[in-house]
Symmetry: D3
Subunit: 286 residues, 6 copies
């Protein structure tokens, strides 16, 4: 069950992209293609993957020409093999050619994220560990890229700096300048100001930092750049008093090992910032 | 010599990203970091590359807090090795921590593009071939990503569907439906309507299509998915009557071979849609 | 310690209001007041209260005329008595008169909210109960109105439908249509999809609904329209396994009694939707 | 006969409010409510009043889900008693629950204004006095709040600083600094520059200021903070040479007395800045 | 004494125009002009006229590059002869060349309007008649074009459909369909609903329509397409009971004759919709 | 065959104009015209011309009231004589009267441009010369005004500073400051940086400047303010090595003579900045 981006948010992003791709119209189609020419085209996967971008692709077509007919055979979150027909589009050739690149740019990138996420998720299968995203998303596309992570079976971390607290090493370095207040005290004081709905997570770099954080009753502890052995020790020490997240040095190869330590969450920046667009194209049917 | 994005365009994109990353403020910094705390931080490359994003990084900082001081030691288009200090930021800790992720997201992605482009450009060195980008850019970021390609030593293709004509296979398939008009005639007629400043480029899939296109006097011919041998034959046949672009199946490994055929342009979609963000971080200095 | 709205958000709201209040300029001042006329004015409280709106007031003045000088004697969250001088403004008469109404409209409304909130907070003093706001805010002004609640000593509930789950009676009525799935099961399943940072709160109308919710391990239970006696019973039954919120029928008179039951949170819609603007005016000093 | 806000203006405000209330979607409904679930709900008045907000309520529903069916039984300007069914909404449960709070926030506030206005209007019944609003409206909502005043039987004053002149005490204090020019002369000169369609109104604080203003031939004189006796004297002295407005210290209790003095207009800031949202809720029908 | 457009309105229009004129930068200057090159240029009138656009010109320069220095020797509303130096600009060559066309487009068009208006105003000199504009302005530029009319010595009519009533022939034709209500009755009823600040003007085509309109007590009567003789008769019949406006068939040649009939207002659509941009250029000084 | 502006661009401009023309509604129609009143009106040309603005006129009507029916008898680019019926509109009187002025303002101005362009085009008939527009367009309306030029049979020059290079006298004056680099060298270097799709045009003032430019292989040479004799000499000297554009001092009278010199392009600023709106009105049919 996916929480999907809302239609107005999708349309806003697609309109910006359509405007960007043809600020004063598609001069090629208008100069060469007769207005009455029709097209029947197929969205085809040129490699295997997980789909994400059904609504965005459709919006790019319909916002260009509301009379186009788009039908998806595979749906968001669905897997497909190379060569699979994902969708068909029918209608005005000018409309389809105008929207094609924008529609593909979205669906290729989002499906790339979903596909990569699915690999990480598969590698952690059978453990309690969730694969979660980070704030390392493309500026302007966070809403869609987080959705792509969900389509790939991953989970989302906080959306932004506004909806959850994550105290990181840089914050802690600043807090440490004040020798008169303990981290525990500062956490308790902040908690007394923050909304009760705010999740409070703290990053630690060493096992000996755990107790100060646990005393304050945080919701998640992030073990950053821990060895597998230390992760295991951290999980044992925390003993389910809060959630445990692992981050840093997470590769597809190491996922299974990290997941086996018993951590609840593994955050992977690469899901959104090291992703290759999936090869998906639009082929003419007739 | 680079043509740089203009300040208002950069600020618009950065403001959207800042808003996206903290729709109602950075609750972590505001809850934990005293307003008077200062930070001195360094932008550090964790791997070698080519820089792109100086102005965007600076804008993210200054739009958050105009009193921050940002100084770059390496400039856009400059190369650096792993561990290099790229820039320093000084000022309010709250301001720097609020802007950090947005600033990094831009500079990591853009430097990733510049760095990848530089590899393609190096592989074509000593030939007449330009490495050029495509319209496969991230929706909303085309302006910046094209600039990143230039920073990497690459060149830009047309900006959008509005500023140059590129007749592709799908267009030609539709034009072919009309048996009564030759491609040459259609090209000549379109030319008579288009602005004289409009570059006219046509894609061909086979050598035997060349003459019809050449008769119409186009500006560039795109040889799509040609073997190295056919590229060479195409270049010879065209004989400098127009520019020649190669595209399709272009990998870093094949670049040198393709470039050696004498083509003027090699377009590489992967420059912008298959790119890994470069690993660049912000370290505290004190 | 208050988390303050960020400057760009404030400026966006103020610019809209300034535009609304004079779409084609302030014709009175421009027709009558010489451009060189200066004004020295004082923001004066005509009744006692708690201040909120310092930055908004200042932004209204400075966005109209950056050369105006605004100085606040009382700061956000500070209390004042009737007749108190809150701030002074100095500079161009045209600028001050142009911005006056917009500046006052904001500060009167926000201080009205802060002042009312402070009354509820005082009534709950000495108990563990936080006074929290709701989503019954003025469309477009949620960011500022939530801040006003904090200035009055209150706390915020979730910001929006996006950042926390609150299952209310209407949701439960729909879930009850499916006789094959228990509420506990549905809560557990939803939790498995939601981000780990998402606070999960469920509203109950009767004590006998508590156990199904508690079994699922939610973060907060909302006791809606409970009698004082039932609130006390609910708190006892929940026994600190999660937070307890009281809502419905909350008046200033009943606050102390409700707070004494041991609930953690009392949400009060009236903080933002039944509020009278505080009487604050701008008086000429000379 | 009401002049209604235009549809695009309504939709712009509603879209901003919907975005504010769920920047990345309604996670509760999406996590718990099946997409196919239907709802039949009723908008019910929990207290008596005058309706305002029919189009805004409908827009909130339809902009969320165009397939929802909204039907109003009472129309804008209509009165209703506590318990009255005002409207019904039918359709997708997810859609209705997503829009509910925004729709209610608007209709509660606007009906609160209409209801309060109707009380002032009733108190002045049988006299020539119009109850008029002021510029003390909620930033961003002036268009709707002025409409709410009309729904309650009140009238509007000028819309903004741009469409009519109102010389107030602060302006006059500045004009008085120039001993060489009389107020009459200044009014005549300004009139010679202002558009002929511009209404010219001047505030006076004392009876002895009337003649200077009357000599210039203004359209309305505002008697600010006058005693009932002085109001009566002012009306007599002005003798229908222009309209007369009373303002300052206007309470519901004093309205009838003020109206009986023969003034044409009574402006009441409280109509929009001291208003309690009316208690209106959305109940499930089945 | 001019009421000037406010700075934020000017900047919004200028930014749109700058963006329109170089959506991805000024490639000529960036490719050819060294960043350190300086320019000293002069705004020169190539024909005589009346200036309008000082602030817009300056904004175009400063929004492009805040370090440019702009100094005007002639000010808005000032007259100049052909060859006059109107202003100087100094600073970065890239900045000046980037802004030049946008700055000129505004100042040429606005000065064209001011200059044309001044001719109509001169032709009516010595009479009571004001030359006023209409709503026949360029879409998006009404604020500036109305200001240009004022700079030329003309006056403004209503700003828009929202701030004054003008019942025209088309309205009257529809009202005439209802035989049961007289125009006088309809005017009186509308007046009872409209704000007291709303100017009420009615167009008549024949002298025999005057009495019905006068009975209702309107503010202005518009005599449309009247002969000079009928205008004179109309003015006599109305006898100062309201303002009189003449419109239709107004040419520069006929102005003096029309003005001599005693009408208060002559509205001239040509001021804004038949205007030639004034020839003003930017010359290099060194 | 015309390249038409896209629907979203048209709608954005029309919505701004509708908002500008009635920021808070059309008070005349709402106060006087019953909501159920219907109108059948005709768009009538009061003088001969060439139509432009079909889609803009229709959008103004339909964005105001989607139930209006608009039918055009003449289409964009079509010629008509004075008195011709161009279109009919049917539907709600309030809707038509609300949109009328905005719809007319667009169609009058655009048809004015198309009509003027057609005169220039006719004067150059039988020669190879294209009549082309310039960047002297109304700020904000370039997209539509360029389309109007095409409707009149003219052609477009570059859209903006971003899509083609045009080195003008001011640029050359700056380049001349550097005695160490020849213009030819600078042109070749710039070409090596610019996209291959970028058209490169250089303005010359004297015949002896031609060779330096021709050596660099530019795409077009602009002969600015040349006598007819020099134009002829320039065309001969250039000898088809690139396109030749004439500009400066171009009047309708001189067009034929200029065109006869063999230039490829004649750019005429007056097409868009010296244009009179065509007289087109909306008449009631019944």
């Amino acid at each position: 069950m996916f929480i999907k981006p809302e239609q107005p948010s999708i349309e806003r992003l697609v309109l910006l992209a359509l405007e960007e791709d043809a600020p004063w119209g598609d001069i090629t189609s208008q100069a060469f293609i007769p207005p009455e020419a029709q097209l029947h085209a197929q969205l085809v996967a040129r490699e295997a993957g997980v789909l994400c971008g059904e609504d965005v692709f459709t919006a790019a077509m319909l916002l260009t020409d509301p009379s186009l007919a788009v039908e998806f055979a595979v749906h968001d979150g669905g897997t497909f093999s190379g060569g699979a027909a994902l969708a068909t589009v029918k209608g005005s050739a000018r409309g389809i050619l105008r929207a094609e690149r924008v529609a593909l740019n979205f669906v290729q990138r989002l499906s790339g994220i979903a596909t990569l996420t699915a690999k990480y998720v598969a590698a952690a299968a059978g453990t309690r560990a969730r694969i979660v995203d980070t704030r390392k998303t493309t500026p302007g596309l966070r809403l869609l890229e987080r959705y792509a992570v969900r389509c790939g079976g991953g989970h989302n971390h906080r959306y932004s700096l506004s909806d959850a607290v994550l105290l990181k090493d840089n914050h802690l370095a600043i807090l440490n300048r004040d020798p008169n207040r303990s981290l525990t005290a500062m956490l308790l004081e902040a908690r007394s100001h923050l909304p009760h709905t705010t999740h409070l997570e703290v990053e630690v770099d060493r096992l000996d930092q755990l107790d100060a954080v646990l005393s304050a009753g945080v919701d998640t502890i992030l073990l950053d750049n821990f060895s597998t052995q230390d992760l295991r020790a951290g999980v044992a020490h925390i003993a389910a008093r809060c959630l445990v997240e692992a981050s840093g040095g997470v590769t597809l190869e190491r996922i299974s090992e990290i997941a086996s330590t018993g951590v609840d969450l593994i955050s992977v920046g690469a899901l959104t910032h090291g992703v290759r667009s999936l090869d998906i194209g639009l082929d003419l049917l007739e």
